[in-house]
Symmetry: C2
Subunit: 594 residues, 2 copies
């Protein structure tokens, strides 16, 4: 433990201020105290920040309120631990109602000293209740580069998010251990160089007399010049809400000549059902940008390296594919949305583009784009995509029947314009890997907000009750987790498919596999007789054990029933591992992999 804690505290504070400054912070009002020392030391190193010491925190907060109101800019407040930040409360409430971005930095003692009677130590979490737009209790400083990147990103992103909606106070609680001052020389960690070629929304905010809400001024400053280098459009779940959104996303990709990676739940991978029956059919030339096989193709290291982009335009939620998410880490991103949500789990966003897909597409269509699309770049992607498709087709034919083939059968069986709810954990991942394009519109649903295995049957009943005939694709655990959902089977209009592979088989692909009592504490198989269970709620039951059974079951009438697909999980695992190994071994563009 010869770590210099004081230096760690300082670097942590520097990283946070770095992000806040990039997000537009220029003024910090501080009240004297001991625990807040690391942040003062950091602020003293940043000439962009103007520092104002004010003794009484209540007075400091109302002073900051005045600054914020007159400038329209975010204003920082810093106080030591204990009752000190509580003096801000009246001004915070005022700021919340007026819509002013006070950035509340409360220094704190270490979390584990709460409730011990330690001096000036209170529970500062949620200190301002519902009167702050965001609250972050970020724990003690960590020295590793990823943590420094994350705390820096928090500063920037919090301010970006705050501009994306009605502004308001933001609270970060900052615990520090002693010593608070570096013991020796303390160089800041290497700052993450972040490209900022699309600078709109990132400049120093202009003074305005109308601070509440976001003026249109920012959007008007938009340049449509894309960053240099090779870009990529990432469409996570919920990128497109309807066919119009989907068309706009494809238009953006076509205009910029970029590959568009389409998550199964993005609304772009499959044609969205049109809002109106007479809407024009999807344009096939637009579909040419769409990439679906990223999860498989990234298993080839050479391909993964060759296809790495320089920047990303991000839509929607985090993609289902974990390997995609990891591969994208560290690449500068622009998050595109209207400001209500935010998705950037790797914390690489350097900008927020506040726009709907349609707004972005129309801006891109109207303005000149100076650089020509890079044909080599998009071709590289198409080549890789085709190679995977060929490999996959071979593997699907020669390999033993499992979820892979079944998913393709299921997608062929669902009538145009109907829906499918795919449960989380293994089913959605397998759907991601094995669902190719289909020409007929499909509503694909999935609870990817929090990605739990819970409530799937009940959600499915709700989807059907809302009018869209919707199929279900659930694992056995998801099904049994929501047994109360069986009380709602009267609402169903279409079959529910349960992949019965004997418990939480996703763990068979995770490091937990092989731990002591793995079966009992992780895989946790459940053993009810699904047929008897279904019948006890008046639901017909069909058992599927092979491709032939599946064809038969799926070609049956469009009625609610339980289709239980029994999968030999070990066979399935070998099928998938074999496929990924084949992908990894396949030479790229005629060159053998090392």
């Amino acid at each position: 433990m010869d770590e210099d804690i004081g230096c760690l505290n300082l670097r942590w504070s520097l990283a946070l201020l770095d992000g806040l400054i990039q997000g537009g912070l220029r003024q910090l009002v501080l009240s004297p105290g001991s625990r807040s020392t690391p942040v003062v030391l950091a602020a003293q190193q940043r000439p962009e920040l103007s520092l104002t010491p004010i003794l009484d925190e209540r007075s400091a907060a109302f002073f900051a309120l005045g600054l914020a109101r007159a400038s329209g800019a975010p204003i920082g407040l810093l106080a030591t631990s204990g009752s000190a930040p509580a003096h801000w409360y009246p001004a915070v409430i005022e700021a919340a109602h007026w819509g002013l971005a006070l950035v509340l930095l409360s220094a704190d003692r270490p979390p584990l000293s709460r409730n011990t009677g330690a001096s000036q130590t209170i529970d500062q979490t949620r200190l301002f209740g519902a009167f702050v737009r965001e609250f972050h209790d970020i724990g003690l400083p960590h020295a590793d580069a990823n943590s420094l990147k994350a705390v820096r990103a928090l500063g920037l992103h919090m301010l970006l998010r705050n501009r994306g909606r009605r502004a308001g106070p933001l609270h970060i609680n900052l615990p520090f251990k002693e010593p608070l001052i570096p013991a020796g020389d303390c160089l800041p960690g290497e700052p993450q160089a972040q490209a900022l070629q699309w600078p709109f929304l990132l400049g120093t905010p202009k003074a305005t007399k109308h601070p509440p809400g976001l003026s249109n001024q920012d959007r008007n400053q938009a340049s449509i010049e894309p960053p240099s280098g090779r870009g990529l459009i990432l469409c996570g779940p919920a990128s497109a809400g309807d066919a119009k959104d989907a068309r706009a996303l494809l238009a953006c990709a076509a205009r910029l000549g970029l590959p568009l990676l389409a998550d199964p739940l993005s609304g772009v991978r499959f044609p969205c059902p049109p809002d109106q029956p007479l809407a024009e059919p999807p344009d096939e030339t637009l579909q040419a940008c769409v990439i679906r096989h990223y999860d498989a193709l990234l298993r080839n290291t050479d391909v993964a390296n060759a296809l790495k982009p320089d920047w990303i335009l991000r839509f929607g939620l985090a993609p289902v594919s974990k390997s995609l998410g990891q591969w994208l880490a560290g690449i500068p991103s622009w998050v595109v949305n209207t400001g209500e949500h935010w998705c950037d789990p790797n914390q690489d966003a350097c900008g927020l583009i506040q726009a709907t897909p349609e707004e972005l597409a129309s801006t891109l269509a109207s303005g000149p784009v100076s650089r020509q699309p890079d044909a080599d770049w998009i071709n590289l992607w198409h080549l890789a995509e085709e190679q995977i498709q060929t490999l996959a087709n071979t593997h699907l034919k020669k390999g033993s029947w499992c979820e892979a083939q079944f998913i393709q059968q299921l997608l062929q069986a669902i009538p145009p314009g109907e829906g499918l709810l795919c449960a989380n954990s293994l089913p959605i991942r397998q759907l991601d890997t094995w669902s190719y394009s289909r020409q007929e519109p499909l509503w694909l649903f999935g609870n990817r907000g929090v990605s739990g295995i819970d409530g799937q049957l009940s959600t499915l009943a709700g989807l059907n009750a809302a009018g869209t005939p919707t199929w279900g694709l659930l694992g056995d655990l998801s099904f049994c987790h929501d047994l109360s959902g069986l009380l709602l089977v009267g609402e169903l209009q279409r079959p529910v498919v349960v992949i019965n592979n004997g418990g939480g088989r996703i763990f068979d692909y995770l490091p937990q596999r092989g731990l002591a009592d793995f079966e009992r504490y992780w895989r946790t198989p459940v053993t009810p007789d699904l047929g008897a269970l279904a019948r006890s709620f008046g639901l017909a039951h069909q058992l599927v054990r092979n491709a032939h059974d599946a064809t038969e079951a799926l070609s049956g009438p469009l009625t609610p029933r339980l289709i239980e697909v029994q999968i030999d999980a070990e066979h399935s695992r070998h099928f998938h591992l074999g496929f990924w190994q084949a992908v990894a071994r396949t030479p790229v563009s005629g060159q053998p992999a090392p």
Copy 2:
């Protein structure tokens, strides 16, 4: 970064479970998941814990509720991150109303991945609102021994506290980084060996059909046999609420033959004003146990080593003296209170004794105490105490006049039975060092709950308005922090003393001294003309620059006025450093210090 994160996660979980098991946890109901893996791995290593896997978290929670209701014991629940723990909510609410100790362990993603759209990542802080008795978001695991000790203590103390009041659900949020599984061999950190010689309240809870509230059964199991070795009674602020409590504390010390370290705000250092005018005067033989000069005497390393106790009986809040607090770290402690509050900032408590001072004193008086008091032990303390008293007297006489002499003059001037509010930061520390005993009763007040420098004038007005004529002793910063308190001077009955030493002089004794812009950002002197300020609110003003001025000002009429004591802060600093150096150099018991 070649740290084994998986091993760190496991050690962290082992430490927490260790504390929970010592606090009485015997059953853990877990729902399968990935993020919760470190806790499962830890639980598998503890044969004391019975593990029950239940798929649906809602069902798991109601099952745990049944276990808790039938057994009266705390029952653990473990779930992975995201929506999983939210399924507990209905059962948590039921447990809160019935008074059952569900121990809710929610695994979580790292705090900095919140709000980024990362999978299964929600803000789990305060997930159960007001329906849990305690909520702890303890941040990512740390490897150092102090952190492991703290998380272990949290587990034990949370369960001890919960038994001290009406029981209820407790929530710990446990963020873990990946990897979740140790890479190689992972030995648990050395567990803190904690003596448990007074085992009551620490045994496995008995099954009972009447779980709500705490039965008297526990208290009846009390042994009055003190632990072996040399003990010490620590009376922090608010140990005694009245003269009866104070007498009981002194009686406990006398009965056990232990030194009693009396914080100035303990209610034991000075005689408490009697509740009724005719109560008997304090017993002088009882006063013999009281130690007042600990802060000074611990500056001598030999003395500090010779006087180190084997165990502590703790009353009240954390003592004002920081050196005392640090010196006591690592010593097994019993926290004595009725269960409403808890003070153990070093997290050394191995037991909670639920009793008022009177209840403890009467138990001790009624039962036999087998071991004889250790006369050498108490004599060692008296010797040290006398030595300091002599040194201090010399230093006070020959040193230049500063706060030290003034505090003694002030304590002599306050009439018997009146009050004094001492502000935090430097004034209360100097009062701790320089206030010797006085025979006349005194109410000494101080806001040591959170120890802020805020609201002192207003508090003083309130104390006076409640009927007790109360003096004030404030620093210049405390005074100016609460300028609105000047609107209440009409309530005052006695003088307010303001020590004007030019800002936050406590920082002159802290490592911040000498930092760049030290004066501007830490010491932050304020420069109003205190005389003019006082007069503008109709308050007379007296300036004190030396002992003679002080005598004159303090012997004036008992009326509200502002006594401004101007101190040369550099002289004062040299006076104090000189005294501590003299203490450090003084040989102990005739032996020269090394």
